[in-house]
């Protein structure tokens, strides 16, 4: 290695000393303009290597294209870099300069494509299983074991024993001690240890979600049940299935549960199945009505204060609001309260025709809703005073005007009388106010900024003028190190700006 230290205007590429900046620049442009790109690439390559090294230090599978940000199509998103920087080099992300978003590629479509195929497979497979399950559980299925076997085989073609030498689940070979068993749903072969048992009741629930079932679901095979293919240890009829079918069915079941995991529906399951649809509609209407009822009441309430104000103003003879407006508003309020009334009646009647479905509690709830709504409406509708007619209104306004005139005259008269009364007696000159104990004193430490020279803009907006003044004050207060004052003044400046903006927006 060349350990000699060189100094001067060296060319970065050929290391020639050029002696002066201009010469070096000229030389670089002339001699190495073509090499530029190569140098850049070389440097890039170095960077790339370093990066790969750093990124590679995380324990990742280098073959997986998705696991490494660097090898993923050569594109690195800032997220990748930040995350890697954090773990690989110990840098905190906040130390990093903000980076521009580099080239990105949307992979959502590809992901959806892959996912769709997968979902399709799940859905199709599961549907097939459910259809088969439905057939297997049909009421005209024979109960006789041998006939039943033929029936099951008819629905689901069983895989021939000769083709399967190993259990498809655990991979152990079949023989005298490990017998072949068939999954009733897919026809596949497995050993007794890998068999799953689906009780008929649970299967029925899977076909029809309204069917309630509170058993354990699938059961594992136990040693003594392996010989019995129709009855499980506790004597309940069941279906033998493989673990794959079990996963598929359970997944579907879970999805349905999730979708229906609302307390209303859970309640619904608790009630016996035959009333299911009726109950469903009942509850639906119940909530629907309740919601509408609330909306109507709220609409009425929001209008009520305005109406009351209008009515008061009108009956006082003022002319701020027109009679038309008030009448319309009154009608609106009446309408919304009326619909609320109707709805509450409907809620009360819900399910009354069928006393079995309505528990005492729910009936009481319905009654309470009705009574509270009617009470509320009575209270508010009583307050909904009638408006004066147009004639009455005119009269009211007239009397108001007369009254106002009279009041004015009265005031004038009394004022004159007072003046006359007061004139003759000259007052004892400014009696000093009540002297209090002299614990109080003025601290001579007041602060006053000098006038700010803002007079030049005499004709400009007073608001802007004032802002300039306050700005000047703030500066002075800062110089005087009056921090309290600075704070106050700045608060005021902010307020001024807000006021100014709102004014501007208005105009």
């Amino acid at each position: 290695m060349d350990t000699e230290i060189r100094e001067g205007f060296l060319c970065p590429i050929c290391l020639a000393d050029l002696g002066a900046i201009s010469d070096l620049q000229l030389h670089f442009e002339e001699a190495h303009s073509n090499e530029d790109k190569d140098v850049l690439d070389q440097i890039k390559g170095l960077f790339g290597k370093a990066k790969r090294k750093i990124l590679g230090s995380r324990d990742r599978n280098p073959d997986d294209p998705y696991s490494s940000g660097a090898s993923f199509g050569g594109e690195i998103t800032p997220d990748d870099v930040t995350a890697d920087g954090l773990t690989a080099t110990g840098y905190h992300p906040s130390v990093w300069d903000p980076q521009e978003l580099g080239a990105t590629r949307c992979c959502t479509a590809a992901f959806k494509h892959v996912r769709e195929a997968r979902l399709d497979r799940y859905v199709v497979e599961t549907n097939k299983l459910v259809i088969r399950l439905d057939k297997l559980l049909s009421t005209d299925a024979p109960t006789d074991p041998s006939k039943r076997k033929a029936f099951e085989k008819n629905i689901v073609p069983w895989a021939p024993d000769s083709c399967v030498n190993l259990c498809t689940t655990c991979g152990k070979s079949f023989g005298l001690t490990r017998r072949r068993h068939h999954c009733r749903l897919c026809g596949g072969v497995m050993c007794s240890r890998c068999s799953q048992f689906l009780p008929h009741s649970y299967a029925r629930k899977m076909i029809n979600p309204a069917f309630s079932y509170d058993g354990d679901g699938f059961r594992r095979s136990s040693s003594n049940s392996s010989l019995n293919s129709v009855l499980s240890p506790d004597g309940e009829p069941h279906l033998r299935t493989c673990s794959e079918c079990r996963t598929l069915l359970e997944r579907r079941d879970r999805l349905i549960e999730q979708r229906n995991a609302r307390p209303i529906i859970v309640q619904l399951y608790e009630v016996s199945g035959s009333f299911e649809i009726f109950l469903k509609t009942f509850i639906y209407f119940y909530f629907y009505f309740l919601q509408k009822l609330r909306l109507h009441l709220e609409a009425g309430d929001s209008l009520l204060p305005r109406f009351l104000q209008m009515a008061d103003s009108l009956s006082a003879g003022e002319t701020v609001y027109s009679l038309m407006e008030a009448t319309q508003l009154r009608l609106k309020i009446l309408k919304s309260y009326e619909s609320a009334d109707v709805l509450s009646k409907r809620i009360l009647k819900l399910g009354l025709s069928d006393p079995d479905t309505v528990t005492a509690k729910s009936a009481q709830l319905q009654r309470n809703i009705r009574s509270s709504v009617s009470g509320y409406l009575q209270q508010n509708l009583l307050g909904l005073q009638t408006l004066p007619t147009e004639k009455e209104l005119d009269e009211l306004q007239e009397t108001r005007q007369l009254e106002a005139q009279r009041r004015l005259e009265d005031e004038r008269r009394t004022a004159e009388a007072n003046k006359r009364k007061m004139k003759p007696q000259k007052i004892p000159k400014t009696p000093s106010p009540v002297r209090e104990d002299d614990t109080s004193r003025v601290v001579e430490a007041g602060w006053k900024p000098t006038e700010v020279n803002a007079v030049s803009s005499e004709e400009s907006d007073p608001m802007i003028q004032q802002m300039n003044i306050i700005r000047g004050y703030v500066k002075q207060a800062k110089q005087a190190r009056k921090w309290d004052e600075v704070k106050m003044l700045e608060d005021n400046l902010k307020e001024l700006q807000l006021a100014y903006w709102s004014e501007q927006r208005k105009s």
Binding site: N418, P433, E436, K448, P449, E451, M463, Q466, I469, N492
Partner: protein, 210 residues
């Protein structure tokens, strides 16, 4: 912070600082600026320039065990600046409405200011009525009794003042300071506006959870 300052005062550890926003209102040329200048600086200018916009001054007053800091906004009386006034009397704990005893019109204007304050300002604002230029009593146009009666009717503090002779100037500010509520809330309100003092142990716990 206001409360910390109070502890360092020589008046003893009980002394507290209260800060109040005070606004001066009134017709132009009645002597608002002169009044404040006398109170804050003890000065009087024969030819006081008319105020532009609003001027800001501070003055501290000691009352028994409390220190009252006035944050004074001296508004311009000219009509064109009236749009600024609400910004200054809004949130003010005290107001001095000034009129000129030698000019009846300014008294009428003072009444409208009082009415506006009663309507628009914070409901428990302390309003003082000051009949300024009391040194010009020979040119008096507004009788003392008339103003006194009006003040009583509207429960205002009332004094006739003179910025020129300093008559009643400090007194009217002190009277306001005495009338202002100086309880804990007033002080805390201020400290809350300026951030939370973590050294204070029993902070009022807001909300429902304790």
């Amino acid at each position: 912070m206001a409360n910390q300052g109070g502890a360092q005062r020589p008046n003893g550890p009980q002394s507290k600082i209260c800060q109040f926003k005070l606004v001066l209102l009134g017709e132009s040329a009645v002597g608002k600026s002169s009044l404040v200048l006398r109170f804050v600086k003890g000065q009087f200018h024969e030819y006081q320039e008319s105020t532009i916009g609003a001027a800001f001054l501070t003055q501290t007053v000691c009352l028994d065990d409390t220190t009252v800091k006035f944050e004074i906004w001296d508004t311009a009386g000219q009509e064109r600046y009236h749009s600024l006034a609400p910004m200054y009397y809004r949130g003010a704990q005290a107001a001095i409405v000034v009129y000129d005893i030698t000019n009846q019109d300014t008294f009428g204007r003072a009444k409208t200011w009082v009415r506006e304050l009663q309507r628009q300002a914070s409901p428990n604002i302390v309003i003082a009525l000051a009949g300024n230029k009391a040194d010009l009593a020979n040119k008096r146009m507004v009788e003392y009794e008339e103003a006194q009666a009006y003040a009583e009717e509207n429960s205002l503090l009332f004094m006739e003042t003179s910025a020129k002779t300093a008559m009643n100037v400090n007194d009217i500010f002190l009277a306001i300071a005495k009338k202002l509520p100086k309880n804990e809330q007033a002080g805390q309100q201020q400290s809350r506006q300026r951030g939370v003092d973590l050294s204070q142990e029993n902070q009022p716990s807001g909300g429902c959870c304790k």
